[in-house]
């Protein structure tokens, strides 16, 4: 393994980190003009990372220590970097001039952390990558505006984030204790996947480890009961940063959960299945019901963010069905949805940040009232994004929900979890209906309200450009979903060795699970433990 191998394989991350370093350096300049160069630098770095992904980023068989580049890594890299572009555009003018260097440096670091999470093949690397995503976001919240609310949100977010990191690390230590190794998957060395290959291999310590790790990650994705911070932090941060919070930490959390479930070959004790089932049902319901009560659009979207995590957990619970595509493959459906969610959520927050009320972000339904009469373009973009969040055709959000729910109902009827998954899908559909109530309030405020509020457009061309890209993507991905669905389908090929295993599928009986596990072990050639 030469240094050149590292350089080519990690070139997208290197591009991001180099960009981050340059951005940090501009931050120490005395010249204001130099310091405000950070945003274009960050944008260029992301473009460079995209180019590097396109040129060098191929899934390869050889593993670097602690890292593994699979089709999943590629997919996550693409969607992260493609979302990072509008993300930077929305944030373009955000902090006061003097602080842009730090701001964009941290933003790039966080993005790099997310792509590294997708490449992690070691518990320690996974933990570090997750923290690399999270720690910059705590600071971004504080930097986003000069306001005590932002500081308060940042401090809350930091302490609770630290607590969740502790729980996560505690869980990982149990996993290490159970298997005696931190390596996730390997052809040669002892690794977690082999030791958890069968139900028998999943000891009590392994179960506890998974549970605690899941609990720690639930904070990142904002799942109940770890969601309490979400509305406070979302409200405290400036709108563009809130759009970021809905994507980077959430996706990192989901990727990490996928990694952990992959080492069990999607074959976990019933208890964990039911735990995730309950969390998913609660997350959807609590998020939507609490959102109903809000008049503050940012808090409303914060609770909607919680609810969307619940939908995505359904996909996670169904698990992968290799090569079947998102209609049947829960993970592919989830991967499809998470990108769509990232863009539509960013779009909605971009609209809020493009309007200001006496220098403050526009936040309440009153502020949005009659938007279509003042700035029709912004109103139409808002309506598209909100319809997409609601899951209404002709937007990509509709297809995302179709994929998730259809993957849940398409599980083999012989499966023990066939029935519970259908119930979960029904809960999801009911929740979509509940959610329509508050999403439509946003739409009706934009379209039908009287235009008495007095905010002036703000944010300029960059925010509008990002907003246009987000809303056009929503329509485009509805018309041609295969642009994203096909990569999502191939992204799941690396998740199991045996083709048809699903988290639920492995549970048709202990025997079948053991068999698939055994096959996986045989194929990887690892020694059965």
């Amino acid at each position: 393994m030469t240094i050149a191998d590292y350089a080519t394989q990690l070139s997208p991350e290197l591009a991001l980190i180099v960009g981050a370093c340059i951005a940090f350096l501009t931050g120490v300049s005395r010249n204001i003009a130099t310091r405000s160069l950070a945003a274009p630098i960050a944008f260029t770095a992301v473009l460079a990372a995209i180019a590097a992904t396109a040129i060098y980023g191929r899934p390869i068989d050889t593993q670097l220590p602690g890292l593994q580049f699979t089709t999943l890594t590629q997919y996550i890299r693409w969607i992260t970097l493609l979302t990072a572009l509008p993300l930077i555009l929305v944030n373009w003018k955000l902090p006061v001039d003097g602080e842009r260097g730090e701001f964009f440096g941290l933003l790039l670091t966080s993005v790099a952390g997310l792509t590294l999470t997708a490449a992690a093949n070691d518990l320690i690397v996974l933990f570090l990558a997750i923290e690399l995503v999270s720690v910059p976001t705590y600071i971004l919240v504080a930097l986003s505006r000069t306001d005590t609310r932002a500081s308060e949100a940042s401090v809350k977010y930091f302490f609770l984030g630290a607590l969740s990191a502790a729980i996560f690390a505690y869980g990982l230590s149990f996993l290490y204790g159970a298997a005696g190794t931190t390596l996730l998957i390997s052809d040669t060395a002892p690794n977690l996947a082999d030791s958890f290959a069968s139900i028998q291999g999943m000891t009590l310590y392994g179960t506890i480890g998974l549970l605690l790790a899941f609990a720690g990650l639930s904070f990142k994705i904002g799942a109940v009961p770890f969601h309490a911070y979400v509305p406070d932090v979302y409200e405290g941060a400036a709108s563009p940063v809130t759009g970021l919070l809905g994507f980077l930490p959430k996706l990192a959390g989901f990727v990490a959960i996928i990694k952990l479930l992959t080492i069990c070959n999607w074959n976990v004790p019933d208890a964990i299945f039911w735990l995730i089932w309950t969390v998913a049902a609660l997350t959807m319901t609590v998020g939507n019901v609490l959102a109903l009560l809000q008049t503050n659009v940012k808090r409303m979207l914060a609770y909607s963010s919680v609810a969307h995590s619940g939908y995505m957990l359904i996909g996670l619970l169904v698990g992968p069905a290799i090569g079947e595509g998102p209609m049947h493959d829960g993970i592919a459906a989830m991967l499809f949805y998470v990108f769509v969610y990232g863009l539509m959520n960013l779009g909605a927050f971009a609209v809020l940040s493009a309007l200001s009320n006496h220098g403050e972000d526009c936040e309440t339904l009153r502020d949005l009232s009659g938007l279509i009469r003042r700035t029709p373009a912004l109103a139409i973009a808002m309506v598209i994004c909100v319809f997409s969040l609601m899951g209404f055709p002709p937007t990509a959000g509709f297809l995302g929900k179709v994929y998730i729910f259809s993957s849940a109902v398409s599980v083999d009827p012989a499966n023990t979890f066939h029935q519970p998954l259908i119930i979960l899908a029904v809960i999801g559909v009911i929740n979509s209906a509940i959610a329509a109530a508050y999403y439509l309030r946003i739409v009706s405020a934009c379209v039908m309200g009287d235009s008495k509020s007095e905010q002036e457009p703000r944010g300029g061309a960059y925010v509008r450009l990002a907003l246009g890209a987000c809303s056009l993507a929503m329509i485009l991905l509805f018309i041609m979903p295969s642009l994203l669905a096909n990569p999502a389908r191939s992204a799941t090929t690396s998740l199991t060795e045996s083709g048809t295993t699903t988290l639920a599928g492995a549970q048709t009986g202990g025997q079948a699970g053991a068999q698939t596990g055994g096959q996986a072990g045989a194929q990887t050639g690892g020694p059965p433990l």
Partner: protein, 658 residues
């Protein structure tokens, strides 16, 4: 046929109007302004070009009855199959495309002047052209689509455009009400149409035309699919056609739809959109012919509507309304043709009707534009000298509609009546009586508008329309004169010793419409010479008779109509008030619905909202409780996380007990 070429030209046909519409919508209000019509005209012209190229492709191939080109896969519909974005190109498609795009082009050109007041673009000029472009896009999608999903997409999209354009003058309450009525009545039909598509999917597990038609024919033949199921599918689909093509009892929206600008009436509510139902049934012949019941219902509804609408047209005073009832009646003919297994005659009539009816509406629009938006025949008359071009072209259109010999309408209508006689003499006689009425009401309108003493409303500067409006009229009148000859061929001993029905158009369409001609239930009666051509002489005589009566009543002795109306006051009132159908609908359907709506509203307000309040009170109470505990403090959140983790651990360890 060359698949790649088909794909290219299909995309051109679809994208031309769409891009035109988007450009008009986005740049119209700011950049293009009074020149907005250019982008839409260019887009539709591209579409016409693409349609011609497709036609050449299809007519140049022999044996290849149809081609389906898949543009891309949309979403999976089952394990191996997909809902595709695909086009089906065959003779029926290309004929429809030619008609739709060609008429659209003329109408868009016509609108350039029509939508102006004294040379200045009227309010909403850009919006109008954007909608028109969107309509053409939707209509060609409907026609080109290779599966029921795209058909439904186009079906709903043309409905939406129709709604937007009927309500174009939305500040006029009558226009807004008419738009709403059209939308709601169409919803009834579309509901059935949607159910029909669901039932198709449940029955055969696919929505692709080829698969569906094959499996239904095979399934019925082998007894796997019950005939009752096919009847249900056919009737549900027909339900959609009844709404969209304004057949009894869902025709009520079309006369009101005349509130839209005249070009819209010509394009959407005469030539193209309302014929979608006819196209759909011709397309789904394989389904319809399997059900004798469905075909009988189609024929009966068509015949009844033809007669019923013609009687209402007899006494109206609004030029556009007369034409609207006439459209309903002519569509009835087409359904009659379909129902008696003469789909090629129905499509032939669709094709000729598009020319002369668009011509008549545009002519009426020309009159209306000149009269300062007045279209009531009681307020003007004798415009022959004021508007010579409009007069001449309208005369040709009226002759074609009346079925005057050798004009376009004559050939196609006669074929339908002939096919009806083959099936049942009763249906045939209805067709003939309607033909007489048609000639009468058409020329009643024509003579009152153009002959007699010149009468012009006060304060109106009557003038002939500009060249942008006259040119389409002239081109369409050529169509009304000669379009019929595509469907006849020359042969000795036939009608007038020259003309023989069933010409080039029929031969072109035959491969597509085989389900109708090969249907198991059709018994073709060997026709004698008299049956074949005698009918043509009869209907010619009836058309001339109708025109003569109209001349007698409205030019020769103008007092006669009043005398007759006084002799039969009840009959006149019933007809003038359109059989009181609207009033009956109001009393028996709308009012009860409104009352139940009020009841539902009350239930919603007091019962449901109460329950919602109680239900939401739980989380609200919980939230209050939690707020008491936490006061939004960091410690509280941390505690809830730790407690949550602990509960999870406890529950799981409890569940994990062996």
């Amino acid at each position: 046929m060359d698949d790649a070429a088909i794909k290219t030209w299909s995309i051109l046909v679809i994208m031309g109007p769409l891009i035109g519409a988007i450009l008009a919508g986005v740049f119209g209000p700011t950049v293009l302004k009074g020149k907005t019509h250019f982008v839409v005209i260019a887009g539709v012209a591209l579409s016409v070009f693409g349609a011609i190229m497709l036609f050449l492709q299809v007519s140049g191939s022999h044996g290849d009855a149809s081609t389906t080109v898949v543009l891309y896969e949309w979403i999976p519909s089952g394990a191996p199959s997909w809902f595709n974005v695909e086009f089906r190109v065959d003779a029926l498609t290309t004929i429809m495309l030619l008609v739709v795009t060609f008429i659209s082009l003329l109408v868009v050109i016509y609108s350039r002047d029509y939508m102006r007041d004294h040379g200045e673009p009227a309010k909403g000029y850009e919006r109008f052209f954007a909608y028109l472009g969107l309509f053409v896009f939707s209509m060609v999608t409907l026609v080109l689509g290779g599966n029921f999903l795209l058909l439904y997409l186009g079906w709903e999209a043309v409905g939406l455009c129709s709604y937007l354009l009927i309500g174009f003058y939305y500040d006029r309450p009558s226009a807004a009400a008419a738009a709403k009525k059209a939308f709601l009545v169409n919803r009834i039909g579309d509901f059935g149409f949607g159910l029909g598509i669901f039932l198709i999917y449940l029955t055969v597990g696919s929505l692709d035309y080829n698969t569906v038609f094959e499996r239904i024919s095979a399934g019925v033949a082998s007894g796997e699919i019950e005939t009752s199921r096919v009847t249900a599918i056919a009737l549900l689909l027909f339900c959609g056609a009844v709404g969209k093509s304004a057949q009894f009892p869902l025709y009520v929206w079309l006369p009101d739809a005349m509130e839209g600008p005249s070009p819209v009436s010509a394009l959407i509510h005469a030539a193209t959109m309302v014929t979608a139902g006819v196209y759909m049934i011709s397309r789904c012949g394989a389904i319809f012919v399997e059900s004798q019941t469905a075909m009988t219902i189609v024929a009966s509804v068509g015949a009844f509507t033809a007669l019923f609408a013609a009687t209402m047209a007899l006494v109206q005073h609004d030029m556009k309304r007369i034409l609207a009832y006439s459209t309903i009646s002519q569509l009835g003919y087409m359904f009659l043709g379909l129902g008696v297994f003469a789909a090629n005659a129905a499509v032939f009539h669709l094709y000729t009707h598009a020319f002369f009816k668009a011509l008549l509406f545009l002519g009426a629009g020309s009159v209306m534009h000149s009269m300062g938006n007045i279209i009531d025949l009681r307020k003007f008359g004798g415009l022959k000298r004021v508007m010579p071009w409009t007069y001449a072209t309208m005369l040709i259109g009226c002759l074609a509609l009346s079925g005057f010999p050798l004009f376009a309408g004559f050939w196609s209508k006669d074929e339908i009546i002939h096919a009806a006689f083959n099936k049942s003499h009763f249906l045939g006689w209805i067709g003939l009586i309607t033909a007489l009425m048609t000639a009468f009401y058409t020329f009643r309108m024509f003579f009152r508008a153009f002959h007699g003493v010149t009468k012009i409303p006060d304060g109106v500067h009557a003038h002939e329309s500009g060249k942008w409006m006259i040119a389409p009229l002239v081109i369409l009148s050529l169509g009304a004169l000669f379009a019929g000859y595509a469907g006849v061929h020359i042969s000795g001993g036939a009608f007038l010793g020259i003309f023989e029905p069933h010409g080039a158009l029929h031969h072109f369409l035959d491969p597509v419409l085989t389900p109708f001609s090969h249907a198991p239930h059709v018994e073709m009666v060997a026709a004698t010479h008299w049956q074949l051509y005698g009918l043509m002489y009869t209907s010619s005589a009836l058309a001339i008779l109708g025109i003569v009566i109209a001349y007698g009543m409205y030019v020769d002795s103008p007092m006669l109509p009043k005398v007759i109306a006084q002799m039969f006051p009840n009959a006149h009132d019933v007809l003038y008030n359109k059989y009181y159908v609207d009033e009956a609908c109001n009393a028996w359907i709308v009012e009860p619905l409104r009352k139940s709506g009020r009841l539902c509203f009350a239930i919603d307000k007091y019962v449901i909202d109460g329950i919602v309040w109680i239900v939401t009170a739980i989380p609200r109470g919980l939230a209050l409780l939690l707020r008491q505990l936490q006061q939004g403090s960091l410690q509280g959140y941390g505690a809830s996380m730790v407690i949550g983790t602990a509960i999870i651990m406890l529950v799981v360890s409890f569940l994990s007990e062996p």
